[in-house]
């Protein structure tokens, strides 16, 4: 499609010259948004793995004398296990034994024999199913409401909350990508269409001289492919520093927490494909616009 002799005055006119400069920023925006989605997705994936596996639920000791307290605490534990095991995505919930509890509390309260005589809180070890699809935020709210003194591992709940927020942002970013893609297409479409309007007379003369429709359309299409690709490349060149900038910048900001903010291979491929898409789109639009112009002629 590129190359070949051009009989058309499309090489240095002001109409063609601006097409790359419309395409470039659009490809830039698309690429940045696309890269953002990929980075975010990777990040969420790594968090997801942290959330998968097991989880701890703590149930405070019920108030009252030791025996009474222990009785009531046991009732709450049963209740919590019931709720947990009825939650989709949770494989199993099991209360820790007294010994296990003491072992766990030792670093906090010292390994005193006195511990054994205290009305201890209960800890439940919850095993999640492989896919990690539990909404811990909802679960925490439900537990807190139904079982007095029950609380879900704070760290996990927060991570889950973060994941949900990030997912929302991810969807927004995908929407932005789609949107910008649509706008880019519209821009290329209208810009190319305008070029055709400007060159209507040229098209007509070629038509009357006996050029076949395909010949005329091909000339304009190859020109548009070239200009669209040029714009796409410019846009891409603007994108690369931004992608690296995001990685480096956020990395420094969050120190380790967001450390894997680099673009995965799939993301690179997607971003690098954009100029080709822009070029193809420009070419097809030009072709269609010329055919549409020609269709009005005998």
């Amino acid at each position: 499609m590129i190359g070949g002799r051009s009989d058309l005055p499309l090489s240095d006119d002001s109409t063609g010259a601006y097409l790359p400069w419309l395409v470039a920023p659009m490809v830039f925006l698309s690429a940045v948004a696309l890269a953002g989605v990929f980075i975010l997705n990777t990040l969420i994936g790594s968090w997801d793995r942290d959330v998968a596996g097991t989880l701890t639920v703590e149930i405070a000791a019920a108030p009252g004398e030791a025996a009474e307290s222990a009785e009531r605490t046991r009732g709450r534990v049963e209740q919590a296990i019931g709720i947990l095991e009825n939650t989709p995505g949770i494989a199993r919930a099991r209360a820790l034994s007294q010994e296990q509890l003491v072992t766990l509390l030792a670093p906090w309260l010292g390994s005193s024999d006195l511990l054994k005589e205290l009305p201890l809180p209960a800890l439940l070890d919850v095993t999640l199913e492989g896919n990690g699809g539990v909404n811990l935020v909802e679960l925490a709210a439900k537990l807190a409401k139904s079982v007095p003194g029950a609380s879900l591992d704070d760290h996990r709940v927060w991570l889950n909350r973060l994941i949900y927020l990030s997912r929302a942002i991810e969807w927004l970013a995908i929407a932005v990508v789609v949107l910008i893609g649509a706008v880019t297409s519209a821009t290329v479409y209208f810009a190319t269409g305008t070029a055709m309007a400007v060159h209507r007379e040229v098209i007509e003369v070629l038509h009357l001289i006996g050029a076949a429709d395909g010949y005329i359309a091909g000339q304009f299409a190859s020109r548009a492919v070239f200009l669209g690709f040029k714009g796409g490349l410019i846009g891409l060149c603007l994108t690369l520093p931004v992608i690296f900038g995001i990685a480096v910048g956020t990395d420094r900001l969050e120190g380790g927490f967001l450390s894997d903010l680099s673009l995965p291979l799939g993301g690179w491929i997607a971003v690098l494909t954009l100029p080709l898409i822009a070029a193809l789109l420009a070419g097809l639009t030009a072709r269609a616009a010329v055919y549409r112009t020609l269709a009005k002629m005998l």
């Binding site: 002799r5 009989d7 058309l8 499309l10 006119d13 009357l208 006996g210 005998l298």
Partner: protein, 229 residues
């Protein structure tokens, strides 16, 4: 062409009850019924606005008649498929009244356009185009672009573009409006030469001087009809 019917072959252009109207206006041309035999040379005259350009537009397939049938090289253009038309058009050379040069191409490239569209080699282009430009007096302006040419120079480029492909039919719409009589005669001589080589020629003009100096039949358009002059 070789195996075409003799009667069809004889007439390069044939109009059968052709009429033209624009939009919902009156009929500019009415019941046109005439034929242009192969190898003929006609002047087309008539007052301004009579419909000379419209008639030529019908022939070079820029416009459909609102009624009637037009045969071009024996082919009924009203039933011809779209993809057949470019080949027909390539056999017709047209000098547009408003030149229609491509501003971004040099004189040489403008004139070479029909050759290139017909797939001629660059060698042929280099061989024929400068010669012809020399003949029409534009040897010094081969690389100039139309916006830098004078009115008469543009007109001569338009004429060169129309004749470069040695068309079977040459339509010239007011081809001498911007040149003086000596150049006009020189251009007419060019048309005459082409005609002698077999090209059918129609020249629409207001230049009475020219018409009277050359001994060719005249089609007079008046009130939408043709009166043979």
């Amino acid at each position: 062409m070789a195996r075409q019917h003799a009667a069809e072959r004889a007439n390069v252009v044939q109009f059968d009850g052709v009429a033209v109207r624009y939009g919902r206006g009156p009929e500019i041309l009415q019941d046109l019924q005439f034929a242009l035999p192969a190898g003929s040379f006609h002047f087309l005259t008539g007052p301004s606005g009579a419909g000379k350009s419209s008639l030529l537009r019908l022939i070079y397939l820029a416009q459909r008649p609102s009624r009637g049938r037009i045969l071009l090289f024996g082919r009924d253009t009203s039933v011809a498929r779209r993809y057949e038309l470019p080949a027909l058009r390539r056999r017709v050379g047209v000098v547009f009244q408003d030149f229609r040069l491509l501003d971004h191409l040099s004189t040489l490239d403008n004139v070479a356009l029909p050759l290139r569209i017909a797939g001629a080699s660059e060698q042929d282009v280099r061989k024929f185009v400068p010669d012809l430009l020399n003949w029409v007096g534009l040897a010094d302006h081969i690389d100039a672009h139309p916006p830098t040419l004078s009115g008469g120079q543009k007109q001569r480029v338009a004429i060169a573009r129309a004749v470069i492909g040695r068309p079977d039919l040459l339509l010239a719409d007011e081809p001498t409006g911007n040149v003086d009589d000596s150049i006009a005669m020189r251009l007419m001589y060019l048309f005459d030469e082409l005609n002698k080589l077999g090209t059918t020629v129609v020249v629409a003009t207001h230049n009475e001087n020219l018409v009277s100096r050359m001994d060719y039949p005249r089609l007079v358009l008046e009130r939408g009809r043709i009166m043979r002059g």
